[in-house]
Amino acid sequence: MKKTKIAAVMLASLMSLSAMAGCNKTPAATTTTGAGGETTAATDAPKQIKEFSAFFAVPAPSEINKDNEIQKIIAEKIGAKCNETWLTGQKEAEAVGVFIASGEYPDFINGGNAMTSLYEAGALVAWDDYIDKYPNIKEFFSDYEWSQFRQSDGKIYWMNPFENIYGDDKTTVQNGEAFWIQARVLEWAQYPKIETLDEYFDVLEKYNAANPTTHDGKKNIPYTMLCEGWRYFCIENAPQFLDGYPNDGSVIVDVNTKKIVDYNTIPTAKRYFKKLNEEYAKGVIDTQAFTQTYEEYISKLSTGVVLGMCDQWWDFSQINDIFKTQGTEQYGYNYIPLGLTIDKGIENQWYTSGGTLNVSSGIAITKSCKDIDGAFKFIDDLLSQEIHDLRFWGVKDVDYKVDDNGLFYRTEDMRKQVADPTYKAKHICNYSYFPQWSGTSRDGKNAMMPTEQPSEFKQSLPEPVKKVFEAYKVDTYVQLLGSVNKAGVWYPMYSYSNNMKTDTKGGTAWNKMGECKHKWLPKVVMSKNFDKTWDEYMKAYAACKPEDFLAEMQVELDKRIAAYEAASKK
């Protein structure tokens, strides 16, 4: 105990030191572009550039170099830059806990599921007085959307940066969850219609029997599952989708009765795990599925040996770049999403169009920030079209070209270049956890994101994936899923459960349920006697008192419906 205490204190002081170091740079820079500044501008006097610091409680999506080129260009244009730090090693709650304990914060923070703790600790600046001053920020959400961010004191403290669509929806990629299958499997099976879980595993087995290895002779793994830590959604939440519900994440909402349903105990859950159990017994499922770490999982996928898995695109999409740089995408290792259901004839909602508003987390400005207006201006500037293009398209004529109609496009060399991790770190600066648009650019022609530019999207696809699209007569990944959107006004419910802590009965139950599922799901899948193990699991699950959790979710659901009705009456 003593050792860990000392280590914790040392860690805390180290973190607060680095946080202070981050903050100290800020106040030195103030906007002093008065008349004097303009007259001396010709003498190449270096422009004052504000430096902000930011912490995001997620592992770095891609770290950028210190002297990143686009970061510098943006800094020169808007007079500010931000040094981003990410989660390394710890869990988000630990990292945020250390910040709270020290009372020193970076200028910007996204605490993930620990946002309410930051709010309760009084660490955040209220946005209400600022939103109207910054048009690009105000534009990001409708009044009703903004109101959903209000905390218990009625104020807004953060905005979610993701999945917001400007103008026409141009979504091409299924960013969320699906059962994925390699293009080579579909090609071999001559592009069959795969609608159910049974058909899916059937194809995987048959393909593997006929082609047991990859192009370089490695043995295929027909199906793997990631179960490590919070990423175990890859195994546990499929039942909601298989029954045709959208990703409310922690529960199902019955659209007719407006009641919360627990997807862990529905018949479909039992059928899904029974299927996994059978496939495990047949040797179709990776024997290391339950012990592998995320890194092992990703490196497994990037060798191309895994034929299929259930996951969310953002969780593994980096492997597409690896296939591109390794030159292995020609073998059809890229993954194609399938909108499976448990039986035929159920409408699926794997993809919900129109963006998803997750109000539980987002980017916030902290009390430690010395230049609050500057920080808001920074977010505002990042959302302006010019800077947004720089962030996601890059530099004109270097990373993309513009044709006579004003449409952006990339040459093959440019595409290869922007997929290269070394080039990315040196050149590209997404500010990837700051607010960003998808959908159509303000010029009305282009897409906000290169991945959503129709021409660009098609061009950048590997040949085998193109063939899949042709065979199924679709233009995008999301069309492959054939999802309908019937998500209610309460969607997504996970934005509430994500923030639940053990200080309530429901939160305690939620944590226990998670622990129970972590422990039992591997047993259920590996069991030699499925029905018996399933009954034991259900008994252990009932002992966690899931009803406490469901009751709290029901209260939140009712609240959301009432809030929406009140807003629509106005």
Partner: protein, 317 residues
């Protein structure tokens, strides 16, 4: 102590004056002991004030005394949690296994190393054996994971030399985990732990060995009847100190090498505190668990000390 002061009083009638005169003569001794006292108070007793949080519903933004008091609620919550007892059992078992292995290997290694005649070889072996101690646990977990992985050296050996049909997934079998932890501890710490015994061995009077030689004792007999008994006080003291550490059975190894399949045996108290305390911002629960650990450690040390006292061995207090 008491008898001393009585003696002084008997000899010198002006006790008060004498005390200050005495103090004046040894300012350095007084200052250094005062510093030590201060150190103890600041670093060992003041932090105990933090134990108050175990009886509160602690919220980080507020001061220690502005919190809401909840009595023993957090302890009740702790003891109602089945995972807590599971973690407690695992910690205790791994702690005891580690303790036993620690002593057997360190003493055995020191005894054997002491018998090495060639000085260079002795130093060489000793240096190599304590090097792993300086590796951080994170590095060690990576090494262990690698060595025991499906295509790691152990599985390669078992498959190619011993003819195992397929690789053993060492981290999917509950039966292996405690022994993996114990073995890793042995690998990392044996050389380091042996140093203190080697030092103690050098303090043994050489006359004893010479006398034994005269009586025709073999090397093994000298080890058994001279070296080992001479080490007994050192062993007892170290044992008593380490008994208090049984519940600190490590953290990184279990945290990183554990997984869902073997969580029944791999989850230990410190990981529990992380999951249910820190990760849930329930610092009070974490403190309660910490107090529980301290109390158990205190009981263990006192019991050990009591037994040592009864058997007439060296003891702490």
């Amino acid at each position: 102590m008491a008898t001393n002061s009585v003696n002084i009083e008997e000899l010198k009638p002006h006790k008060k004056v004498k005390f200050w005169a005495e103090a004046k003569r040894q300012p350095f001794l007084l200052i250094s002991s005062a510093l030590l006292l201060l150190y103890g108070i600041i670093f060992y007793y003041l932090p105990v004030v933090g134990w108050l949080t175990a009886f509160q519903d602690y919220k980080p933004a507020k001061g220690l005394l502005d919190q809401q008091w909840v009595g023993f609620d957090k302890f009740v919550k702790l003891f109602e949690n089945e995972t807590f007892f599971l973690a407690f059992r695992n910690t205790l078992c791994m702690g005891v296994i580690n303790l036993v292995f620690h002593f057997i290997t360190a003493i055995g290694f020191a005894l054997l190393l002491n018998e090495v005649r060639i000085f260079i070889v002795k130093k060489f072996v000793q240096t190599i054996s304590y090097m792993p101690h300086f590796l951080s646990w994170i590095i060690v977990t990576a090494i262990v994971r690698d060595v025991l992985s499906a295509d790691g050296i152990v599985n390669e050996f078992l498959m190619k030399i011993c003819g195992n049909p397929q690789a053993i997934d060492f981290f999917a079998e509950k039966a292996y985990f405690w022994w993996i932890v114990a073995f890793t501890n042995v690998w990392k710490e044996t050389g380091w732990n042996a140093i203190i015994y080697l030092a103690a061995i050098t303090a043994i009077d050489p006359c004893l060995y010479e006398a034994a030689d005269m009586d025709g004792a073999s090397r093994f007999q000298k080890m058994r009847y001279i070296t080992l008994p001479s080490l007994r006080p050192t062993i007892m003291i170290l044992l008593l100190i380490n008994i208090g550490n049984v519940l600190n059975a490590g953290f990184e190894l279990q945290y990183i090498l554990g997984n869902d399949v073997i969580s029944d045996v791999s989850k230990i108290l410190d990981v529990f505190i992380l999951d249910w305390g820190i990760s849930q911002f329930d610092f009070s629960l974490g403190t309660a668990a910490g107090i529980f650990k301290s109390v158990i450690a205190l009981i263990l040390v006192c019991t050990g000390n009591f037994i040592a006292k009864k058997t007439g061995d060296e003891r702490l207090f």
